[in-house]
């Protein structure tokens, strides 16, 4: 049974009357990765800063390894929390070389050894005497990670760590960093607005929206069984059409699907459709009309207007060539269980 590295319960924080974090509760087990995913301004960075101790919560508690560090009766300042942080802009100390950056959080006697250990961990063996401005973006980031890992923090926080890297570099660095952090057996909480990144890095993914943590779950579950329409739309592509439950099925204007969750029969619901569930076939009497398409290489992503006026998207192999205006018949992949949300 693994220990809990971090437990947040009922956290809330507002700035000048605007709530940035509302009633957030989340646990992270030791050695696991939690990715916090959400659009800009959703409060994920504030949550990170609360955990680091740079902000004080208005309500709720934070425990690290079972010890309360913030809450009504507790306050541990950031320097005593044993929480490492890597910022989006790396925030290296510009007046210190790489070795001194990494050694900053270490007690004097063991520093030299630990620094070289960290440098080889992040693969920057010969870089000890370089100054930060002499490093590339990727190298700076690895220094920032080495610096944060050097004191062996109980929790490591990464704030949008890859967003300032070029796209091609990003994928490679991401994999490297995951390896480094796994090697170091760190507990990691990492903030991103990039769903692909979150799904790749996180053992679990938490999706935040307007200060609320809408769902925390394994990446697959987040994708296949989103808890809210927001999560559905934010992670992957999702369209919604109206439907009505009938027993274990939900009926829609384009066919029926098995229900994933229980609803009383006759409930009006919104049915989530991922583009890969929607199949198209040219048919002059079909229920939909192609209004546009986006060529994605192997696939076309079709935009289809239904009889009701609802818009759905469909992912089709590139040999299915339907120009705009083509009438299409729509079938749903009935092996998929439909995710539904109550209509309001």
């Amino acid at each position: 049974m693994t220990r809990l590295a971090l437990r947040c319960s009922g956290l809330a924080k507002s700035f000048n009357g605007t709530a940035a974090v509302r009633n957030v509760s989340v646990d992270v087990e030791e050695g696991r990765f939690l990715a916090l995913l959400g659009p800009s301004g959703c409060g994920k960075t504030t949550l990170l800063r609360l955990i680091a101790g740079f902000e004080t919560p208005d309500a709720g508690t934070i425990e690290i390894l079972g010890k309360a560090v913030a809450g009504p009766a507790a306050w541990v300042p950031p320097e005593k929390r044993r929480v490492g942080i890597v910022f989006q802009d790396y925030a290296l100390f510009p007046h210190m070389d790489v070795a001194r950056n990494i050694a900053y959080g270490l007690p004097g006697e063991k520093a030299a050894h630990r620094v070289s250990e960290m440098l080889s961990l992040v693969g920057l063996g010969g870089f000890a005497r370089r100054m930060p401005h002499e490093l590339s973006g990727g190298e700076q980031q690895r220094v920032a990670i080495a610096r944060a890992l050097a004191p062996a923090p109980d929790v490591l926080l990464l704030d949008e760590p890859f967003s300032s890297l070029d796209a091609d570099l990003r994928a490679r660095v991401r994999a490297d960093i995951k390896t480094i952090l796994t090697t170091a057996r760190s507990t990691v909480i990492f903030v991103t607005h990039d769903q692909e990144e979150a799904l790749f890095m996180g053992d679990r993914v938490g999706v935040m929206n307007s200060g609320r943590l809408e769902q925390v779950a394994a990446p697959q579950e987040i994708f296949h069984c989103p808890a809210t329409p927001f999560v559905a739309q934010f992670v992957g592509i999702a369209d919604f059409i109206d439907g009505e439950t009938a027993g274990s099925q939900v009926l829609t204007e384009v066919g029926q699907l098995p229900l994933r969750c229980e609803f009383p029969p006759g409930t009006k619901v919104r049915v989530m459709l991922r583009p890969d569930v929607v199949a198209l076939r040219a048919d002059p009497a079909g229920a939909g009309e192609v209004v546009g398409r986006v060529f994605q290489g192997i696939h076309y992503l079709y935009h289809v207007r239904l009889g009701s006026g609802a818009m759905i998207r469909s992912l089709q192999h590139h040999d299915r060539d339907y120009p705009a205006g083509t009438r299409v018949a729509i079938t749903l992949d009935e092996s998929h269980q439909a995710v539904c949300f109550p209509s309001h």
Binding site: S40, A52, G53, P78, E79, R82, A91, A144, A148
Partner: protein, 545 residues
């Protein structure tokens, strides 16, 4: 498009919230204790003024409500307003030409155009009278052309000219620093959207310069409130002169203090206006430095640009140096005994260097509090440091005389007390410089240091202060320069027999011994030019001020 706008707003919203560093944590004692000390120091003159002014009783209202007082108020505000406007008109093109164009001799212009800062205003006043007076040197030059006398220089025109001459570098330095930091992408974007260069300047560049213009303008305006040398020599009665006259003609400390309350109020208005103009713009670059902008090619305008810069330098630097040199030369040819003890030079340098060091140290907590722990008390403290800069030196000096002689006789008439006076007078220069330096430091750097186990105090020691160093040193250099030329506090508060270059120049000039005055005045310029060169050098590297 709309989405993009909303998104960027959300981004800036987050930025606004998270960039402030751990501003919600309470500042450590290592910050607020020294800051409290600074607060006590800057409060001394104010407490003194109120103590004296309220000792007056009914007479104070008679004095304050006289029509004469209103006239002085009008003149003071007119001078401050005109000088500030003139400085903006001179320094905007000057800074732009020096920083952003391929004008020849840019570096020379940069060093020379900042130099008037070290010319004491009474020297500038004497020079203006000697050169441009009705029968001054210019008239002598024009005499063969039948010019009998020049129009009156005394009063508003002369005072405006003289104060502008010595004060414009305050604005020039802040503007040059700000122009150097401009992101050329914004200008290019504006040009690519079809805006003319002129429109680009007003719509894109000017708004970005506004904070610098306001900060420089504040120093200029406050300086023109305080200046005594120029207004007294050019006979333009502002509050500083009126206050001085109260001491001189009636030996009346109470009425003088009552009068001095008004410039304090004017200064408060200036401070609030500047804060509003600056707005809430607190920016620093997230990563790296800006791509240096390409220099604007002046082409056929080169000569005109250079003549403009030369004219400014000619009037503000070459003219005073020439007049002083002329006086000195005449003294030599008359075989006057021009003696100047080395200790005078040493005293000047020593006291000013101490003041610079103390002001630099005192500025650190004030700057960190106001930038990183912005709150009502910290903003109040930061603004309060500027009040000393707006008050006549004699008021600060007498305030310290009163408190020290009566409550701390041990320190009275020691070098230490003189240094305190200098710090009260010139602290805002150090604070402003440290602040702008700190605004360019990414607060995440300090956050990172804290999460690596450093206490707030250790973060300040190992991270913030080392990163602030360019700003702190530039501020110290400014304090050094202005302390070198300080007069009234030096006369009253210095250890007995403590002569400086400024007091020597003054005492000779007040006896009409211009040759004897010219020697220390020229030495003053010479000694001051080292830190001045530093200021401009450090700006070249995009640091400082």
């Amino acid at each position: 498009m709309e989405v993009a706008v909303a998104r960027s707003q959300a981004l800036s919203d987050v930025a606004g919230r998270t960039r402030g560093g751990s501003r919600h944590s309470r500042p450590p004692a290592s910050l607020w204790l020294p800051a409290a000390l600074v607060a006590v120091a800057v409060a001394i003159p104010l407490v003194y003024l109120l103590l004296r002014a309220f000792g007056a009783g009914g007479e104070i209202w008679d004095l304050l409500l006289r029509r004469r007082t209103l006239e002085i108020l009008g003149r003071t505000v007119a001078l401050a307003g005109t000088v500030t406007t003139l400085c903006a008109l001179i320094t905007l093109p000057l800074a732009w030409l020096i920083v952003r164009t391929d004008m020849p001799l840019r570096r020379t212009c940069r060093v020379l155009s900042a130099l008037p800062l070290v010319i004491p205003s009474y020297v500038a006043g004497l020079v203006v009278v000697a050169a441009l007076g009705p029968r001054g040197a210019l008239q002598q030059l024009l005499a063969p052309l039948g010019v009998e006398r020049l129009p009156e220089i005394y009063g508003f025109p002369g005072a405006t000219l003289t104060v502008t001459m010595v004060a414009f570098p305050y604005m020039l330095l802040t503007l040059m620093a700000s122009m150097r930091g401009l992101d050329p992408c914004l200008e290019e974007a504006s040009r690519s959207m079809g805006c003319s260069p002129w429109r680009t300047f007003w719509r894109v560049v000017f708004p970005q310069l506004r904070p610098a213009l306001a900060a420089g303008g504040l120093l200029v305006a406050l300086y023109s409130l305080r200046d005594f040398g120029a207004v007294s020599l050019l006979k333009y009665e502002t509050f500083t002169w009126a206050i001085y006259l109260q001491y001189q003609t009636s030996f009346d400390r109470v009425l003088a203090a009552a009068l001095a309350v008004i410039p304090v109020l004017i200064a408060v208005i200036f401070l609030v206006v500047e804060m509003r103009t600056r707005g809430r713009s607190r920016y620093h670059r997230a990563t790296g430095t800006a791509r240096p902008s390409a220099l604007v090619r002046l082409g056929q305008w080169k000569l005109l640009a250079l003549s403009f810069c030369s004219l400014v330098i000619l009037l503000s630097v070459a003219l005073p140096v020439a007049v002083l040199g002329y006086w000195l030369g005449k003294g030599f040819s008359n075989a006057e005994p021009l003696r100047l003890a080395w200790s005078t030079v040493a005293n000047s340098g020593y006291a000013s260097a101490l003041a610079a060091a103390v002001a630099a140290v005192a500025a650190i907590p004030v700057a960190i509090l106001s930038v990183r722990h912005s709150s009502k008390p910290s903003v109040l403290l930061e603004r309060a440091t500027y009040v000393g800069f707006a008050l006549p030196g004699i008021v600060i000096a007498l305030a310290l005389v009163f408190f020290a002689a009566n409550y701390a006789p041990v320190v009275y008439q020691t070098l230490g007390l003189l240094v305190v006076a200098y710090v009260i007078l010139f602290l805002p220069q150090a604070v402003g410089s440290a602040e702008s330096s700190l605004r360019q430091v990414n607060p995440h750097i300090e956050d990172a240091a804290r999460s690596l186990g450093s206490s707030p105090t250790k973060v300040i020691r190992t991270i913030t202060v080392p990163l602030l160093r360019p700003g702190i040193v530039a501020g110290a250099a400014l304090v050094f320069l202005t302390a070198m030329k300080e007069l009234p506090a030096t006369l009253i508060l210095g250890p007995i027999g403590f002569k400086t270059l400024a007091t020597s120049a003054w005492s000779a000039a007040s006896e009409g011994l211009f040759a004897s005055a010219a020697l220390p005045a020229l030495l003053l310029l010479l000694v001051s030019s080292a830190p001045m060169a530093f200021l401009t050098l450090s700006q070249r590297k995009g640091e400082g001020l």
